[in-house]
Symmetry: C2
Subunit: 412 residues, 2 copies
């Protein structure tokens, strides 16, 4: 009987470990796969033969349950992009050395765009060398920017955090009898799904009409027009709250924040965006002498398992389990996708899809879901997002703080 | 039968409306007080006769329950400090005009230091003019800096948010195999209670030893020493997370953030502190070329009712109810205080205390609860804070977002 490896890649989410738990459960329930190993720091752990025997840690349901509710990547993660074989054949040889050594028949990679590229490359390499190892992509990203699938695990919980925190900020912003402007910056370099989720903070019934404006990266931002929007909004609503994507760019494609704070490049060559809200606040201050606050949700929006969406958590587990069944059924070079059959009632089904058509494609918010003025989203996006937030999945607390599990101390 | 007024003042908290709900419940249960009015925007609402009839809104338990779980000041708030009578007698006359018009016998003021000063002044004025209106202070502040009382409602929930979010940030910070530094900025101009609460994110059993350092405003910060701490910590722990109070100052009493970002003054003359973490990150970057992130909890830490402490919520309600009983029993010029009888098991009792001795006094973290190096807290402060976080008080959710109540739409 063959063993399998599972790994996590890219930025963490509140439910990336629920996906891992799903894969573990799937393997435990199967008759076809023996042991499950976790690769530490994504594909790097496979290259370096840095594996953990997950079977010996998660033999108890109670441990798997704690894993389900723990945010951030239990196994560690990476942004390592697998090179083309022509550029570095040695990496592929090392990977297969690990596979051979541990009698691996299946590899599950939990991640986003870059990770699907790795799954695709490994699958093509396997075909070339005649290996029958199955490579399955398990979708994960708060950005919700994977192609083909209706949505991605991680997005629902981040969206729930954003809608909830935004509503709390809106209530807080209205308590003083003075005009105020609050600019909230939300993650998303190129896709505005998370920023769009701030619209769910609104409630017509409770007269919560903020955030008053929402700016996605899909539409070029004219900073003068933005300042103008703010001045008018404060005149009309007095206490104004707006949501802006960290990735908003001007018409020439330059990040707005680059003007405000020196752009930093992260360790992976991506521009580290921060300070978009601050840069915009700075511009508005030139025109309006009122209290202006810039808030960044920062890491909180991707790691807040304490307010995860039950729908998201359950789907993450199911997709993990489905990935195992699909692999056993012979699928390879595929990612598990979610097909939405109906929004109301919310019904989805899981399928497999050729990973080559998903890798390296970025799915953005359709322009018809953004208002003509480019400063709000339509109701369609709200209806699309709403079911993904449904239900609360709370971690167990101990002494008032969530009782999370870590790789460094798995035995407690 | 006399009526009463209740008002909210100062910065909002996650449980300031639980205090309000307690006062409303106390009045509804009493035989001695007829109607309860809410003054809009604190004492300003009394001066301007801007009152809401709360009896007609909160006649149903289900509404009171929603109020309990709604963050930010339902009635609106202010930072209006009542002038001395000698400076502005007209304000006092206006206040009494409102009192007379509505047949007021009791005034409950939910707030912090400044608000207790108002209660004290109103009480002294009443004594002078021979009024028998009772003035009661109901404590509220996330800063936990009120004198005499063991702690203040609002602190426990903010502390729970901070410990929880800090633990989530710590897990998130450890996922990549590269050295990182995360500096988290926490509210507290002069008192470091909230920043100290970040220590509760640690868990020896789970090998979570971050935040590695904690810097309170009670101790002067030497920026060179701070940078040195960071360099050593990254060498030792690789992924370092530290907590700093927004109010840390150098040995000459200058805010650290003043060097980093231009200091802004808020509408109330207080220096608006922001950018302390960023200013410090900037200093560390000069010495270390690693990924450094600055995170501010900002408004989130005071408005996150979605993760309120059950102990805090229950105490806020009880203190509100107790305030009504005390007033009916004839108390005036007092604030309700919490006396801790035991930490383990946690037992407290409520009493009244002369508000004149509480107003304008700031209670800081005792220096013996801060380590000698000034970069951590002792276990005593952890033991003191722990019971205040105990238990979870979740709001009801609707369509995945908390179902809060607002003054603008109370009838839904």
């Amino acid at each position: 009987m063959k063993n399998c490896i599972v790994a996590q890649s890219g930025g963490p989410t509140a439910v990336i470990n629920a996906s891992l738990a799903g894969v573990i459960r799937g393997v435990i329930a199967s008759q076809e796969i023996d042991k499950i190993y976790g690769a530490v720091h994504g594909i790097e752990g496979v290259v370096n033969d840095d594996l953990i025997d997950l079977s010996s840690i998660f033999y108890k349901d109670s441990r798997i349950n704690r894993l389900v509710h723990t945010p951030a990547s239990y196994l560690g993660t990476c942004r390592h992009r697998l090179p083309l074989e022509d550029d570095n054949a040695e990496v592929y040889e090392k990977i297969y050395k690990t596979f051979d050594k541990h009698n691996i028949g299946y590899f599950f990679y939990i991640g986003g765009n870059d990770s699907m590229d790795t799954v695709d490359k490994l699958n093509k390499y396997a075909q070339k060398i005649g290996s029958d190892i199955k490579f399955i992509g398990v979708p994960k990203t708060i950005d919700n920017d994977l192609a083909v699938t209706d949505h991605t695990p991680g997005f629902g919980s981040a969206a729930k955090y954003i809608a909830t925190s935004m509503r709390e900020i809106v209530l807080d912003s209205q308590v003083y009898d003075i005009p105020t402007l609050t600019i909230v910056e939300i993650m998303g370099r190129n896709a505005g799904w998370l920023t769009a989720a701030s619209a769910l903070a609104r409630s017509e019934r409770h007269k919560i009409c903020a955030p008053h404006y929402i700016y996605l990266p899909e539409v070029a931002m004219d900073v003068d027009k933005f300042v103008d929007d703010m001045v008018k909004a404060v005149k009309k609503h007095r206490n104004v709250v707006v949501a802006v994507s960290e990735g908003v760019k001007d018409k020439d494609g330059r990040y707005i924040c680059e003007g405000g704070t020196p752009g930093e490049t992260d360790a992976f060559g991506h521009t580290q965006l921060t300070g978009t809200a601050q840069a915009l606040a700075h511009e508005v201050r030139k025109k309006m002498d009122i209290k202006i606050r810039a808030i960044e949700f920062s890491l909180l929006q991707r790691s807040s398992a304490h307010i995860a969406s039950l729908t998201d958590v359950n789907e993450a587990i199911e997709i993990g389990e489905f990935a195992v069944s699909a692999a056993i059924d012979g699928a390879t070079g595929v990612m598990i996708i979610v097909k939405r059959l109906s929004t109301n009632p919310y019904i989805v089904e899981l399928c497999t899809f050729n990973v080559a058509e998903i890798a390296n494609v970025e799915r953005k918010v359709p322009l018809e879901w953004i208002t003509k003025d480019g400063n709000d989203v339509t109701n369609d996006v709200v209806e699309y997002i709403r079911p993904l937030l449904e239900g609360e999945s709370y971690p167990r607390f101990k002494h008032g703080v969530p009782h999370y599990i870590t790789r460094h101390a798995s035995n407690t």
